[in-house]
């Protein structure tokens, strides 16, 4: 009786998981299928079609797709690098030092993420025009800080807080100066958090659409904006669109797989205080 009900429970559990997996993965699978279909077969819903790589050829070799990819890499990567350089010291200060309005400042940084992008993009557009940074790498990297910086600061701050301050004291007594302590002792300890936060920041920056759509778009076109080009006014090339979307998902996936080891450990290290 008991084992039977246990088995039933397991079947239900796994059944639900399978349903969820289909639900979550089907769009991706459908996208992959679309990318190897010709325009003529694009609307067939059966799985019978003659696969072709024409879409890939057109997108990768006959359009500016690679240039858009590079644009995306520059602005997203640049945004993450700036966030790390400025955000890690900021997180350290918020974790270690006591100063007036500390929590207010921390909350203020987080609050940048509260407003929907579409809400702030219009005033930003006007500011960018005045400062002549519209449609530039610098402008996009700057505005992406709204996306990546709060996330990085809050995650890394938690990691710094988990490190007992006596470790820094011990290193001081051992004869190290502050910079040596920071790079030799603290950075290795926050590395898992730093890596996972940087990865998330990169993905968010990569996927950002509203900011590059409004604040760039002619000279610099990140991939999210450029994809819309494959939706013509008269005809929609869904096959090419699928190729563009598939390929644009690759960097984040490759990136995540490379640092998966840190990612898994990172997400549990901060939670459990040793």
């Amino acid at each position: 009786m008991n084992t039977a009900s246990k088995r039933l429970g397991r079947i239900v559990q796994n059944g639900l998981l399978v349903i969820y997996a289909i639900f979550a993965l089907f769009p991706l699978i459908w996208m992959l299928i679309l990318s190897v279909k010709s325009d003529a077969e694009i609307y067939t819903t059966t799985f019978i079609f003659s696969p072709t790589l024409d879409n890939y050829r057109i997108v990768l070799f006959e359009s500016d797709y690679v240039r858009y990819m590079i644009d995306s890499l520059i602005v997203s990567g640049g945004a993450v690098i700036v966030s790390v350089i400025a955000g890690v010291p900021a997180a350290y200060a918020l974790a270690r030092y006591n100063f007036k309005k500390k929590e207010d400042i921390a909350f203020q940084i987080l609050s940048f993420k509260f407003a929907p992008e579409i809400l702030v993009v219009l005033p930003l557009f006007m500011i960018f025009q005045k400062l002549h940074i519209y449609d530039s790498y610098f402008g996009l990297i700057w505005v992406y800080q709204l996306i990546s910086m709060p996330l990085l600061i809050w995650v890394v701050r938690g990691y710094f807080e988990d490190i007992s301050v006596e470790i820094e004291y011990a290193a001081q007594v051992d004869g190290y100066n502050w910079y040596q302590i920071f790079f030799k002792n603290l950075i290795p300890l926050i590395k898992p958090g730093l890596v996972s936060a940087a990865l998330l920041a990169f993905i968010f920056a990569w996927n950002s659409f509203t900011f590059p759509l409004m604040l760039a778009g002619t000279k610099i076109q990140p991939i999210t904006v450029a994809i819309t080009k494959f939706l013509g006014t008269d005809s929609a090339h869904y096959g090419q669109l699928a190729v563009a979307a598939t390929v644009s998902a690759l960097p984040a996936i490759i990136f995540a797989l490379c640092i998966q080891k840190h990612l898994v450990r990172g997400l549990s290290f901060g939670a459990v205080k040793g």
């Binding site: 007992s164 006596e166 470790i167 004291y169 011990a170 290193a171 001081q172 007594v173 051992d174 004869g175 190290y176 100066n177 040596q180 002792n185 290795p188 300890l189 040793g274």
Partner: protein, 384 residues
């Protein structure tokens, strides 16, 4: 190797005053113990000496030189932290090598290797060198923290309860070892503890710290036999001292003590100096301090013994402690092991009054004791 002086050091954390005008003069090559209850400010004193925390007022001197503005790295101290503060990402070996690899105290790798193996052998942890701190037990971590300090030859060792998490056997061994190391190296050592045994056995001198102040300073024996108030008397000694409140009365050239609990009247043994001093201080309401070993007991009624009931009986290995109760007053006594004692049975207690200390019942301060002159002379001789 240094003489460490603190002059009127005050340290505040926000509105809380952690140290309140601490002045200490720790001699070169001295083993100095800071002893006191939790939260007394002992660790803060160490931090101020190490340069981790800066006092708001007062100066810290090393060999007569003010070091308030010298940062922790340049003070040339070695510190053992209470929570170990090991570097989690480094192996035990690298943790211990860390002070010898810093720019300031750089040594070559051969020297480091020899030194670490030497210290590890002393600490009985050669088998742990390749492990990470997360793979160690608390006692092992504590030994690594000690080892990290001992590989260096600093001007002063600062140790914050370095033996607290070791098991009893290892703790005793390490205590002996520490005393030995200190005697050999002759390095000034400042040692924080809340363990009475450690304080007594290790310290050349002991400073009793409470609420950010130095309450009493002296050799272990001096403090044990002449505590400056009831707080210190209770802190020094295990089992705790018995404090018996009562009234002194003078009749002719003799003196009587009437116990509050039970109302028994004792004739105090004659000692001219003592009676003169009590007379001079005009003491009438006093607390009598009696160490547990100076109480005698009997399970049969005896002449002059007061009847009490047994409150508890604890065996602590080589001896046991009987706690007797007399109308609310608890009396602790040392007894041999293996007695058959039932809770609530009758026990008869007497006091060896010629070992008594007298405290003012109101201010709780030390007044005098039997044999005061002899003990004072002994203490002075000890301090050298």
């Amino acid at each position: 190797m240094a003489r460490i002086q603190l002059e009127n050091v005050t340290k505040k954390f926000g509105k809380v005053t952690a140290l309140d005008g601490i002045s200490l003069d720790i001699k070169d090559k001295e083993f100095f113990v800071l002893f006191g209850p939790a939260g007394a400010g002992k660790t803060t004193i160490l931090n101020c000496i190490a340069g981790i925390q800066l006092p708001e007022e007062g100066v810290v001197k090393f060999d007569g030189e003010i070091v308030n503005l010298v940062d922790a790295a340049h003070r040339d101290t070695a510190m053992v932290f209470e929570n170990y503060a090991l570097y989690p990402q480094m192996t035990v070996y690298d943790n211990m090598a860390s002070p010898l690899r810093s720019k300031l105290y750089k040594k070559d790798e051969d020297y480091i290797k020899n030194k670490i193996h030497e210290v590890a052998a002393m600490m009985k942890m050669e088998n742990l060198l390749e492990r990470l701190p997360s793979q160690l037990s608390n006692g092992q971590k504590q030994r690594v923290a000690m080892g990290r300090a001992l590989v260096r030859s600093p001007r002063v060792y600062l140790m914050d309860e370095p033996l607290a998490h070791l098991d009893a056997k290892l703790r005793n061994a390490m205590r002996t070892e520490l005393k030995e190391i200190q005697a050999n190296f002759g390095t000034t050592s400042i040692y924080v503890t809340h363990d009475f045994m450690e304080a007594m056995s290790l310290g050349d001198r002991i400073a009793i710290i409470n609420e950010g102040k130095v309450v009493q300073l002296g050799t272990g024996d001096a403090i044990y036999y002449m505590p400056c108030n009831e707080f210190v008397a209770q802190l020094m000694g295990d089992p705790e001292i018995n404090l018996i409140s009562g009234t002194l009365a003078k009749s002719g050239d003799s003196c009587t003590f009437t116990m509050d609990a039970g109302g028994k009247v004792y004739d105090l043994p004659k000692e001219k100096d003592l009676f003169a001093k009590l007379d001079e201080l005009g003491a009438s309401k006093v607390d009598l301090g009696m160490r547990p070993q100076n109480l005698t007991y009997s399970f049969e009624p005896k002449e002059g013994y007061i009847k009490c009931t047994v409150y508890s009986y604890e065996s602590i290995g080589n001896k046991s402690v009987i706690v007797a109760e007399l109308s609310g007053l608890q009396l602790r006594m040392i007894a041999p092991n293996g007695l058959k004692v039932k809770i609530d049975q009758d026990v008869y207690v007497d006091m060896q009054l010629d070992h008594a200390m007298f405290f003012d019942a109101e201010t709780k301060n030390y007044l005098t004791r039997y044999n005061e002159a002899a003990i004072k002379a002994f203490a002075e001789k000890q301090e050298g």
